[in-house]
Amino acid sequence: MATAELSVKLQSSSGSKIKDFLNANMVNILAAFLFLLLAFFLLYPIAAVLIKSLRGPSGFTLQYYQNFFSKNYYYQSLINTLLLGAINTAVCLVIGFCLAYMTTRGPWILRKPLKIISLIPLIAPPYLFALSLIILFGRNGLVTRALDLHWELYGFGGVVISQTLAFIPLAYMMIESTLMSLNPNLEESAYDMGASEATILRTITIPLLAPGLLKAALLIFVMTIAEFGNAAILGGRTPFLAPDTYTMITGESDFNMGSVLSVVLIAPCILIFFIHNYLLEGKKFTTIGGKPVASEPRKITPLIKVPFVIITTVAAGAIFVCFAVVFVASFYKILGVTHNIVLSNYLDFTSNQAIYNSIRVSFVAAVIGAVIGVLLAYVIVRGKFFGRNFIEMVSLSGFALPGTVLGIGYLLAFSAPPLKLTGGIMILALNCVFRFLAVGVEAGISKLHQIHIEIEEASADLGASFLTTFYRIVLPIMFPAFIAGFLYTFMTAIVSLSAVVFLVSPGFELAAVMIFDKAVYGEVGLASATTMKLVLIVVICMMILNYISNKTRLGSSMKKTAAV
């Protein structure tokens, strides 16, 4: 590096001075630019929510918080929300782990079908499960009637069940990719040396997975307490913060109390975020998007096998049944009430525009998000400027940010001139970019840690400009991180309701919001058919993306071998 600088200085004429300056300081310039973006689109909206929760018509006040904590109702709402988050996270982790274990270590024939069942609901809106549960187990549901049961689906239990089913796929996806990147040799040699399955799980697999599990836990907890569809449909009289926040903002336009509710929602998330960081301190990253290694099927002892098979069967079965109900419901006017099979739900094209919009928003968000994610990761790992840790913390804080907060934040921050962004595609896309940024950034960081800076230095020494080095060396290495960020943003943006619901405007309806409205209105057939269309289109998109990324991964790995 030093020699490079020296030679650069010796050669420099006045004309290329600017160029050299740029080359030498590109990282810092980039960092400054990215920081501005983060400040503007992430910190500013959060600050806007905080300020709104503290400022009444006559200056700063704690009155709104006092209002919150002095009312039993809100207090109960908070407890319910946290309890829901905790139960949900725990159950999702256990089931997600069992599913992932079976699809990566279990018998071959089970792997593919289990994987498909676990992943398909990921692209359907989470509140779909509330719909299916009402059709099956509601007070007048098909199963309830058939068995003449008397139970109450509306309430805490119903919300927990539907929300858990909704987030199993996310848990599965995250745990499966960490399991895949875990080299099975370690486990296999332990097995060869006579260690029992339980011992291997306890002493090797789970400890090695801990960082991944922890990350999954954090993500699920944050998503689950913010996603309000299931709670709004099945909650009955049981209060939860997310739907309350929604009513507070959209029904009563009480932005002060709405902000208080979302700030209260952030607090536990931030706390868990810091605990998570503390626990991971000094531990090696095992992340999403690692190198996948297929593991041979293993003889699993009955002690492990039986509970795993039971849990897996129940979970996959429940997901499958709920999804099947939606599929069947899409062919009936109202499933359970009328009995003729119709195609009219599919021939109703009013939702086409919304589906198209959703895909547009998600695509734009995914591209921008993946690019910013990769650049941020680069700056964080390679930069040597003051405030690097701060940028890292801010860009990873997305993990701990409930969707409602950024939804309200964007509404508060960008709805009046000169910063008027509401109404249209960009506000929705940007919102998704900054909410889901963390995954891409983290994948990028872990990728960059895998390669030594010497390669880049060598490139610079040989006279390559910053851009050439970045394009020829850094980008190919980071491509998997780019894909990880892209896919995660694309998939979550398409189904998530919690933030965008505040930001849709006439002429820019999104599928997730539209399906929710139809569902709440009882147009179950239409809601189901729209969901099926959405799922189909997203599956096709994913297949195309997969094809492209496979091609390029091939290309980039070839480049890498050539470089070596």
């Binding site: 009312k71 039993n72 109702y73 207090y75 109960q76 709402s77 009402i134 509601g138 007070r139 007048n140 509306y154 909650g235 009955g236 009289r237 209060p239 009513t247 903002i249 959209t250 029904g251 009563e252 336009s253 932005f255 006017k333 109202i334 359970g336 009430v337 009328t338 009013t350 547009r360 695509f363 734009v364 591209v367 509404l411 709805s415 009046a416 001139p417 008027k420 509401t422 109404g423 595609i425 190919p476 849709v504 405007s505 006439p506 002429g507 820019f508 309806e509 919001v513 539209m514 409205d517 139809k518 709440v520 209105y521 009882g522 147009e523 492209i548 091609k551 390029t552 290309g555 980039s556």
Partner: protein, 330 residues
């Protein structure tokens, strides 16, 4: 090479995705009738004027909140379908563009503002719906008066919308207050609360939930009942002896719109007899008299209501409602 090709392809898709929207005469609207009725109205306007109306469905309450939050920089050009509180508020605060429409000539003044700040495109009321099958199974008959709903046998079997998010529920609350007077009115609402299973977000949702048999009885907006009956829900409906309340469905042009000419054309077409006929067909009571699909020739008995006062009292009543029903967790 391959990488470059993909980069170009992605960039191309990206720009196509970012661009792209039609060139025809368009207008953005907040529309608060149900999603299916919104579509009917949009299609009608398209057919009669060629104007494409972009809309997202939101309930009356939500539109009100949104407009309040956005004022005075609205994201829509026009409202087609909001409740009286917002219509009166918009008139008072100057959020509406006054326009005296020739298309509304001859309509009774009850349905339009003299200066043309708002137009009432259709009145709706609330009715009591019951699930035939569930009632028969329990051996109960349909209640004939609102008072009968207080019978403990209905506990957990009645569903109604929440006045915090639904304009229909606001109308119900105000109708009961007008019927019984403030003190007895609030007592009635509190007693009724003991039998209510939960409060839904939108004013139409109870029709569906009762239709599917999730609950036996529902207080619900009348406009969608006809459609649900036609769809085959085992529903029975009635207006109890004391009568029902009513509210308008208002249309107005939002200040700051760059599409005033288009907006005026939309207002004009909403005043035509054909439009009244469409709304009456759905089940509304319309500015130009047309046979109503739900009620037929004889309109139901109405409780006398002062819409202006109802609008003014709404925030106060919301606070009171929250104090009574949302302070303690039940």
């Amino acid at each position: 090479m391959k990488g470059k090709f993909i980069a170009v392809a992605v960039a191309a898709i990206f720009s196509v995705v970012l661009a792209g929207s039609a060139m025809a005469e368009e207008i953005n609207a907040y529309m608060g009738t149900s999603p299916e009725n919104n579509v009917k109205i949009v299609n009608f306007i398209k057919q009669k004027t060629g104007i494409t109306v972009n809309q997202t469905f939101q309930s009356f309450g939500e539109i009100e909140a949104k407009v309040k939050a956005e004022a005075p920089n609205f994201n829509a050009d026009i409202i087609v379908g909001c409740g009286s509180p917002l219509a009166f508020m918009a008139q008072k605060n100057g959020w509406a563009v006054p326009y005296v429409s020739s298309g509304w000539k001859g309509v009774s003044e009850v349905f339009m503002d003299k200066e043309g700040s708002w137009y009432n495109i259709a009145n709706f009321s609330f009715v009591l719906v019951g699930n035939k099958d569930r009632l028969a199974k329990a051996g109960y008959s349909m209640p004939k008066s609102w008072k009968e709903l207080l019978d403990p046998k209905w506990k957990g079997e009645i569903i109604m919308p929440s006045p915090l998010s639904s304009g229909t529920a606001n109308m119900m609350r105000f109708a009961f207050l007008a019927l019984y007077g403030d003190d007895a009115g609030w007592k009635y609402i509190a007693d009724l609360d003991k039998n209510i299973h939960h409060y839904t977000r939108s004013g139409n949702a109870p029709t569906d939930l009762v239709g599917r048999g999730e609950f036996m009885l529902g207080l619900t907006s009348d406009e969608n009942v006809k459609k649900r009956l036609d769809d085959g829900y085992p529903l029975i409906w009635t207006v109890p002896d004391e009568g029902t309340g009513y509210d308008g469905t208002f249309a107005l042009i939002l200040k700051g719109t760059k599409k005033q000419a288009t907006a005026k054309k939309v207002i004009d077409v909403l005043g035509t007899p054909e439009f009244s006929a469409l709304m009456a067909e759905i089940g509304y009571v319309t500015p130009r008299p047309a046979p109503n699909k739900l009620y037929g020739q004889t309109l139901p008995k109405y409780i006398k209501i002062d819409l202006g006062k109802a609008a003014e009292d709404r925030p106060k009543n919301n606070d009171l409602w929250k104090q009574k029903f949302r302070t303690e967790f039940k």
